[in-house]
Homo-oligomer: 239 residues x 2
C-alpha cells in the first residue's frame, strides 16, 4: 500500500508523541460516561439513538467548547435536557456532573510498551508531547503518568492542525523532515504532520473517538499496531 | 507607600500583558451571568446567598476545572441543581448552558487607551500576552480583539504562578529584571512576577474577580488607574 511505503528515518532529530489514546487510555472513559448517560436517559431513548444525538451535539458545540472533559460534560448535559423533553430531574443533572468529575479523576493507565520504549528513545532523540484539550486536565494526566522526565517539551494546543505543527517546529528549530510524529489519530497526528513535510507513524488502535476518524492520507507514513514496534523501525534494539 | 516606590524601568527588554480585565472587559460578563442565574433561582434563594454559594462551588471545583467560561458554566449548573433542592426544571438548565454560550460569544470590548498605547509600545519593546483559562476561548478573544499584530508571543497557562513565569522567561531568553508585567490582578500578574525578580505595574480596576483578590505584595511595584499611564512611566510620549 502506498501509505505504508518505506520511509527514511535517518534524518529524524525530534520525535513527537500524541498523549490521549497513544500513551494512555482515554476514549474508553468517554465510552463509559456515555453508557452511564444512556442508563439515565433510558426512559426516553435507546443507547443507539442517544449516541447519534450526542455526537451531533458535540459536533455543534466543537467551535464553542473545543475538546476535553469539560466540553464533553457540557454536551452530555445539553443532550440530556433536550432528549428527555426537559423531563430529566435535576438530581440526574448532578449525576452527570459527577460523571465528568470521575473522568477528570481516574488514574492514568499507560499502554503496554510505553514504559519500555521511552527510556530507550530519550537516549537518542529529544521527545515532545503534542496534545489538545483542557490544559489543566492534560497537565494533571501528564503528572499522574510519571512520564514527564522523558519529555523535553510539552505542547498543548487547541487544535492539532498544520499551522500549529509548523509553529511548534519553528520554535523548536527543527526542520519538518527532521520531525517524526507518533499517534493514533490520522486526523490530528498523521495528516497535518505529513502536510507540513514531516514524517509520521500511525498506531492503529480500537480506541478511536468518532470525531478523530478520517480518510487515510495519500502521503507515505508507517502503520504499527503496538507502540513498541517503534524501536525496530528506528533501528533501535527492543527487548 | 513602599509598594509604589519608584522603580527603574531602563533595563526592561520585554513587556507582558494580562488580557482579561486588563486589555478587555471580562469579569462584567461573569457578573451578568450570575445575575441571570439569580433570576432563575429566585424562588429558592436570594441573590446574596447565591453569590456566596456560587463562590464556594467555584472554589471547590477550581482544582478540577481551573479557570474559564466552561468551568464557570459547570459551577453554575452544579449550584443551581443543589440550591434549588433539585427542583430546578431541565429547561432552566438549558438556559444556563445558553448563558455560558453567550459568554463565549460576546464581542470583545477593549478598554480605553489600549489601541493608543500598543502601537507606541511595540515600537520599543517586544510585547507578550500572558493569560490563563480555556485556550480556545482565549485564542478566540484574541482574534476578535484585533490585537494579535502587536504581540510577539501569546502564552496561555493553566495558572499564573512563579514556575510558569520563570519558564516563560527562560524560553524567551529574558532575565527576570528585564521583564515588566502589566495587569489588574495582584495575585496573578503582580505577586508571582515580583517573586521571580521581575517588575510589575498594577492597573487598579473595579473589574476584579473575587478569586483574584489578594493582599498587596511587599516588594515594590507601580500602581496606575488607566492603561495609558504606562507610556509616561516608560518615558514614552503619550498623545
Amino acid at each position: 500500500m502506498s501509505h505504508t511505503s518505506v520511509t527514511d528515518y535517518s534524518k529524524i532529530r525530534l520525535i513527537g508523541f500524541d498523549a490521549d489514546d497513544t500513551l494512555w487510555r482515554n476514549s474508553v472513559y468517554f465510552v463509559q460516561a456515555e453508557k452511564r448517560l444512556a442508563d439515565l436517559l433510558s426512559p426516553w431513548l435507546s443507547a443507539e439513538t442517544l449516541h447519534s444525538r450526542l455526537v451531533a451535539t458535540e459536533t455543534d458545540n466543537m467551535p464553542w467548547y473545543g475538546y476535553g472533559v469539560m466540553a464533553y460534560t457540557l454536551s452530555l448535559i445539553e443532550t440530556a435536557a433536550r432528549e428527555s423533553h426537559y423531563e430529566i430531574p435535576a438530581k440526574d443533572i448532578e449525576r452527570i456532573l459527577e460523571i465528568g468529575k470521575w473522568m477528570l479523576g481516574h488514574p492514568v493507565e499507560l499502554y503496554d510498551g510505553v514504559l519500555q520504549i521511552l527510556p530507550v528513545l530519550e537516549q537518542h532523540y529529544p521527545l515532545v508531547i503534542v496534545t489538545k484539550g483542557d490544559m489543566l486536565d492534560q497537565e494533571r494526566k501528564l503528572r499522574k503518568s510519571g512520564l514527564m522526565p522523558y519529555f523535553h517539551h510539552i505542547e498543548i494546543v487547541s487544535e492539532k492542525n498544520e499551522d500549529n505543527y509548523r509553529d511548534l517546529l519553528t520554535r523548536l528549530k527543527v526542520r519538518p523532515e527532521e520531525f517524526l510524529m507518533v499517534g493514533n489519530s490520522l486526523k490530528s497526528d498523521i495528516a497535518p504532520v505529513l502536510a507540513v513535510g514531516g514524517q509520521a507513524v500511525h498506531i492503529i488502535t480500537d480506541d478511536i473517538w468518532e470525531y478523530e476518524r478520517s480518510d487515510k492520507p495519500a502521503l507515505p507514513y508507517r502503520e504499527i499496531s503496538r507502540i513498541d514496534e517503534l524501536l525496530p523501525i528506528l533501528g533501535l534494539p527492543g527487548d
